[in-house]
């Protein structure tokens, strides 16, 4: 291989140095670059295309279920943010402060939004008069800034990140619960049906809720390095925000009532989870659902076969494109097939079609799956269907591998030593009976920096109101302190 190929290829190992490997894949596969300011990144074309597909998928689901998109200002006056002090004890936001406009100092500092509750809620109050105005479901796609990140890790730790934030108001507690589960279910679908990542669905422990929320629900994804990623959260805010911001309405009987509100958000961290879950030491691996290019055709010719091979390849590219497949014909003269193979592997194209003179003569095509290099020789006739079913197979392979890893990595434990030993040895999740006391989590957290990332729910479905699953055994004891345990908790290290 030439030096150029060396420079292109991934040099770090996913299993030995996952952090360095991840950073290298993100940069070399054209996903993102580091910005000149620490904590900020530049999202490059391939990375942004992934974000657009994710947005399309989620936004379509939101719209089908009654959500309206809006856009609120990126700045929030300091006095607005401070209203959250009524709801959240010890509220002290780590935000970016705008103090000057042009040459003049502002009379009041403006925060670059860290989240938009405090500026959206007053408008929700204004727009909610009658029960006929409810449910009110607003969402915005934007970026937010939190002045927290120290070391930059693209999509996982950045001071500015892109996300969507949904904010809704409902006439009843049940209406708000429905909303919470609808959105959590859509996040679950995004991971499982689009990103090929199985998730665990549950709630955060009481002491780790979104500030001001009644209940925070979450989907958690297991990364190959054994850490959990919080994939998206859906909060039941009860009536606390509605009371603080006066979101009230007149009901059917002309009585004034206080609304119930929710909020829910998913950030570009989902892109980080996507890249980290499937990619390998050759570079990016993507499920066909979100891959900007699903199929690359690499023609292999000598001077005397070039015309035939190219003509055959172009017809196939045209067929696939007409069928809606995102296909690229790589007919560059200045690169040899080997270089092209490496480059498209690096960039995560799920399916490669190799076409040489033999394929032309035999009216066949060779298909190569990116995740495992499986080769399939297929007939030219019916190729569109063959390609489509191979793309599905590739999706299924990726999902199955991630699912197996998740299933293999939920373990049980009876004592603090066993919790810590299991986390230390295997990573993954440790499922334990828990008394509900934050001190028991702290004891583990201090020593191995694993925490309770999730509690499975007592029941699934619309009816549930967020209660955690109870241990099977009525006499269950907390795995940390040995006191009586009435709930199940999952410990894990997390991003």
């Amino acid at each position: 291989m030439s030096d150029e190929s060396q420079e292109l290829g991934i040099t770090e190992s996913k299993s030995h140095k996952p952090g360095e490997w991840y950073a290298e894949v993100v940069q070399k596969a054209g996903i993102a670059d580091y910005a000149p300011m620490g904590g900020f990144i530049v999202t490059k074309p391939r990375g942004y295309a992934l974000w657009e597909r994710l947005q399309d998928e989620l936004d379509g689901r939101f719209k089908e279920t009654g959500v309206d998109n809006v856009y609120f200002p990126m700045f929030i006056p300091e006095s607005f943010l401070e209203r959250e002090k009524d709801i959240v004890e010890g509220f002290d936001p780590e935000v970016a402060w705008v103090t000057h406009g042009g040459h003049d100092e502002l009379e009041e500092r403006l925060a670059v939004r860290p989240t938009s509750e405090s500026i959206i809620a007053p408008f929700m109050a204004d727009w909610t008069r009658s029960h006929r105005d409810l449910p009110l479901r607003l969402n915005q796609w934007c970026s937010v800034v939190r002045w927290e990140a120290t070391e930059t890790k693209p999509f996982f730790r950045t001071k500015e990140f892109m996300w969507q934030e949904g904010h809704t108001a409902h006439a009843s507690d049940e209406g708000a619960w429905d909303e919470v589960w609808t959105r959590l279910g859509q996040y679950e679908e995004l991971y499982e049906d689009v990103l090929a990542i199985p998730v665990l669905r549950g709630k955060k422990p009481e002491h780790d809720k979104f500030p001001g929320a009644d209940t925070t629900t979450t989907v958690e994804a297991l990364m190959p390095d054994g850490k959990s990623v919080q994939g998206g959260t859906s909060h039941h805010l009860g009536q606390s925000f509605a009371e603080a911001f006066d979101i009230t309405f007149v009901d059917e009987d002309e009585d004034e009532q206080t609304a119930y509100t929710t909020s829910w958000g998913l950030s570009w961290r989902a892109l980080g989870a996507l890249i980290m879950t499937h990619s390998d030491d050759q570079g990016l691996v993507l499920p066909p659902t979100v891959a900007p290019t699903q199929v690359v055709i690499v023609p292999i010719w000598q001077e005397d076969t070039k015309e035939n091979v190219l003509e055959y390849s172009e017809a196939i590219a045209a067929d696939l494109e007409a069928a809606g497949v995102r296909v690229e014909l790589d007919d560059r003269d200045e690169r040899n097939p080997g270089f092209k193979f490496n480059e498209h592997e690096l960039n995560g194209v799920p399916l490669r079609l190799e076409i040489g003179p033999n394929e032309v003569d035999d009216e066949e095509v060779t298909l190569v799956h990116r995740p495992d290099n499986e080769n399939v020789v297929a007939d030219r006739s019916g190729l569109v269907e063959t390609v489509e079913s191979n793309l599905e197979t590739i999706y299924d392979k990726l999902y199955a591998a991630a699912e197996e890893r998740l299933e293999d990595n939920v373990r049980e434990a009876d004592s603090p030593e066993e919790i810590m030993g299991t986390i230390g040895k295997h990573g993954g999740y440790v499922r334990v009976p828990w008394c509900g006391d934050q001190a028991c989590e702290e004891a583990i957290k201090e020593k191995v920096s694993a925490e309770i990332v999730m509690q499975p729910l007592a029941e699934e479905g619309e009816a549930t109101t967020g209660a955690p699953e109870a241990p099977d055994d009525d006499d269950a004891e907390c795995a940390v302190c040995g006191e009586s345990a009435d709930q199940i908790a999952y410990f894990a290290k997390s991003y």
Copy 2:
């Protein structure tokens, strides 16, 4: 009419108080609200839906013509902005400055991006090595902040506004010119084929170019109050940015060359132009191309006819929806048909279908066009095609009205008095021979605040390089100073 209807309806007159009328339409038709900070607005569901449709249209055209979307940080370090001083004399940006992160003062102030040249250009330099990397075409959809606006006018004058900014690099001057015309042509298409607004296509005078640009091209739209709106601009930046930011490449002969760059942008001002152009004293008027709801069905029933009318209406709604028409069936019990008519007129639904017991008996439907209340009684059979052709007719009506206004409002003048008199009496554009001296523009601007908004191009099409049209007469004299005039200029008041 009840008080509620009064509150809903538009009270200001478009012809007598266009400013107040515009503000009222924007608020009452659910387009936007004023934010608590002067200069900022909240874009409400109907307004944001319009922005999304506009984005889809433009973004699709960009992608078909080789543009990649990206996302750069919203902050730009002060030292980066200052590099533009090399290019732009007297550079002094009116920006929002972030000085603190959390409790700490930053070492270097960060500007909230007023435009992104200075942060994108260094990356373009980094990504451009060989002629094979060119053309490089990047675009981002984002909001920018300029600390200029005094009085807030939604979509026309706001400190934060949404836009897209395209940034490209090319191996040759001709490549850059092609790019400039491609984007200007797409802006023209957006206005003429999507927003039903004819535009004038031309260049800005030399003294009014984008800072650092070689040539600024523009599409200008005439508003009903006689003022011109700069609808979108496409800049040929020559090699000045490439030289300042070191955007160079190795050509086929292994020689290092400096690239040519362009930038081009269109903001939500296009929404302002859309609303202002077509709407009337009943409220919002929208072309069907961008209307979130294209067709509303209002059933008209008594207790004994309700079931039949609703059943008939539902079947029609289902047919239209299946054909891809954005249709809403307004079957609310608590509102009478008159109230519904007013509300949907206010909200700009282009076509109303009225269905009462007579329509059911006769297997007919009454169609009412929003712009002019034209009534059409149509057969139930073939209704989908009838609706689609009526939507096209509505588009054509809106375009024709705007086109007639534009054609009627380009006038000529021979003297400063005539220029000012014509602007004062009619508004619109005054087409004059001009010597090219900025002082001649200043003389007019000081007295009637009209300026040269556009100069038509000498030739249309790909070959042209931005030279302004010359007067027909070789001995033409500048309409202001009487000196020899070698170019044509359009004076107008502008937003």
